[in-house]
């Protein structure tokens, strides 16, 4: 070790070299600490105050939370999130898995097709929402086109229907994301030990059994990532709803994020809005903390 020689005389340059990594890391850590966690603490605090149009600092305890759960629109928003979130996750995973299995069959021009499947993901949810709004509009979209083809009694007016409008959001969101989920599963499929598959095939396992017994169990990590990514996207959903239905008809498609925004800025109820934000934060934390924890343990 001829180099210990240089290490034994720590000059200012060496000390700089030692301190530099921490020095250059600190701005990023500070930014994240202040602008994300510091601000979240502030939101927490606001949710316990009597803030209306501007922040006020009169402590009201759990009042805002109690009020929040009495508001029917919040109830609708939470119910919608459960419907939307579960359908979105299930359908995306199912389609994503099927598409991944299809693309894994050594088909021609796979790279090109994969890119096509992924294309919607590159678009903004706002664009997706606006485009699907027209497609689903009974007057100019799908319904009008199919009627034009001669099927006069065809109706598809979900977007104007209070009961069904939430499902149009599922459709648009699934269109946007399933190709992306496909990519996650495809990466998982490519990581599966092909020897094991061959062995099972030689033993006479049917294709279905092969996938059910060998492939899908090995895709567990991919399912986990897909679930976490999709779940947090569902809870954060804001732009798609704003563009597609604007939360309507009425409040039929409000989600927590749109509820929070409208309660703050159109009804000037900052305290209640903050309370709803805190609940969303806690929900996401409940999903990602265990995930990150397991990631952390795995990689150590």
């Amino acid at each position: 070790m001829a180099f210990t020689e240089t290490a034994t005389r720590p000059g200012p340059v060496d000390r700089l070299r030692d301190a530099l990594p921490k020095l250059v890391l600190s701005p990023t850590v500070a930014i994240v600490a202040i602008f994300v966690y510091g601000f979240i603490v502030f939101t927490f605090y606001l949710s316990f105050t009597n803030s209306r149009i501007l922040p006020q600092f009169g402590w009201v305890g759990w009042q805002n939370y109690e009020n929040l759960f009495r508001i029917r629109a919040w109830d609708t928003a939470v119910t919608n999130l459960i419907i939307f979130g579960s359908l979105y996750i299930i359908i995306c995973c199912a389609l994503g898995l099927l598409l991944a299995i299809l693309l894994d069959q050594r088909i021609r021009a796979e790279g090109f097709i994969r890119t096509i499947y992924l294309y919607p993901m590159a678009l903004s949810f706002i664009v997706t929402g606006v485009a699907w709004k027209w497609f689903l509009d009974p007057g100019i979209g799908l319904e009008a086109v199919v009627r034009g083809w001669g099927w006069e009694s065809f109706t598809f007016g979900w977007i104007k229907d209070r009961e069904m409008a939430i499902y149009t959001i599922v459709i648009a969101a699934v269109w946007q994301t399933s190709g992306f989920v496909m990519a996650m599963f495809l990466a998982g499929l490519r990581g599966i030990d092909s020897e094991m598959m061959k062995a099972a095939q030689i033993d006479g396992a049917s294709t279905f059994a092969l996938y059910r017994r060998i492939v899908i169990p090995q895709l567990r990590p991919a399912f986990m990532s897909a679930f976490v990514v999709l779940a947090h996207m569902a809870i954060k959903s804001y732009d798609l709803v704003i563009a597609l239905t604007g939360g309507g008809p009425g409040t039929a498609t409000e989600l927590p994020a749109t509820f929070m925004y409208s309660y703050t800025f159109t009804r000037n109820q900052m305290g209640i809005g903050a309370a709803s934000a805190v609940i969303m934060l806690m929900t996401i934390a409940a999903i990602i903390v265990p995930y990150l924890w397991s990631e952390l343990r795995e990689k150590r």
């Binding site: 340059v13 601000f39 992924l118 996650m184 563009a243 929070m260």
Partner: protein, 276 residues
């Protein structure tokens, strides 16, 4: 015989994959085509596919009506500015964590990454109030900073995963050969880091370009980017199909081009590095 069956099945699978691809791509394709039709042709029965009189009139109308170029310019400034700003702050941080890791590095990384998953509504009030105080509402500089802040964790994370792929032995070798820290960074590290940085820039540019929560809520007339432009067409107000299609084609045109090159980065970034 067995071979023939495999080939058959392969052809069927390929056909099916193409069909699904067409189905997925159809809304984009149809919007694109419709934007070149006249309003009458747009609602023609039966629908016209390729054989119509291609016209650019819709684009002219949209530009005249809502000054597309101004929105486009705002999008470029905001997405580009926030990306570059983020990179400048994140490269040293990612470098530090990738090449001089400490016991806490993994924790710090995951902690940062967790913030990217949190909903924007959690920090809406403080940022909104701060913007009012500082007079940053509806300014490009304000939006640039906010988008940099919210995307910083993902930039750091992406850069970190790319930097980790650079073999540390090369750096050690350079150090042994007597390279100073400056030389090490300039001549050894930088050339190898450029592809990763470029990928990160591409991904982040798209994320910033598509970001809608903040751009819709913090801008009005002056700093509004293309997300606000397309949202303004959400209630069509006398515009019809062909013009709406032209508007959305204009809104997504840059992404349609960038999107083609960035699929890998998108998947990698949006899965938080779970898929490479």
């Amino acid at each position: 015989m067995a071979r023939a069956v495999t080939n058959n099945r392969k052809a069927i699978n390929t056909g099916l994959a193409w069909l699904i691809g067409l189905l997925i791509f159809f809304p984009i394709l149809w919007t694109f085509l419709t934007s070149f039709k006249t309003e009458a042709q747009a609602i023609n029965d039966p629908p016209l596919f390729l054989f119509f009189d291609w016209t650019l009139e819709n684009y002219a109308v949209v530009q005249e009506r809502s000054d597309y170029l101004r929105f486009l310019w705002n999008s470029i400034i905001i997405a580009g500015g926030s990306t570059l700003l983020g990179i400048v702050i994140a490269v040293p941080a990612a470098w530090s964590m990738a090449f001089v890791p400490s016991r806490r590095t993994k924790d710090v990384l995951l902690w940062m990454l967790s913030t990217k998953m949190l909903p924007a509504v959690g920090v809406l009030y403080p940022i909104y109030l701060l913007f009012i105080q500082l007079g940053l509402l509806d300014t490009r500089i304000g939006l640039t900073i906010v988008l940099m802040l919210i995307n910083l964790p993902i930039i750091v994370w992406m850069l970190y995963t790319y930097f980790r792929e650079i073999p540390a032995e090369i750096l050690e070798a350079a150090r042994m050969d007597g390279a100073s820290l400056r030389e090490e960074i300039l001549y050894v590290l930088t050339p190898m880091a450029v592809p990763g940085i470029a990928s990160t820039i591409l991904l982040n540019f798209i994320l910033a370009w598509n970001e809608a929560f903040w751009t819709l809520n913090l801008t009005a007339a002056n700093a509004a980017p293309l997300t606000a432009f397309i949202a303004s067409y959400s209630s069509p107000e006398g515009l019809f199909y062909a013009k709406l299609s032209a508007a959305s084609t204009m809104a997504i045109a840059p992404i349609l081009i960038l999107g083609w090159f960035s699929q890998k980065q998108l998947v990698r970034g949006l899965t938080f590095g779970a898929v490479k």
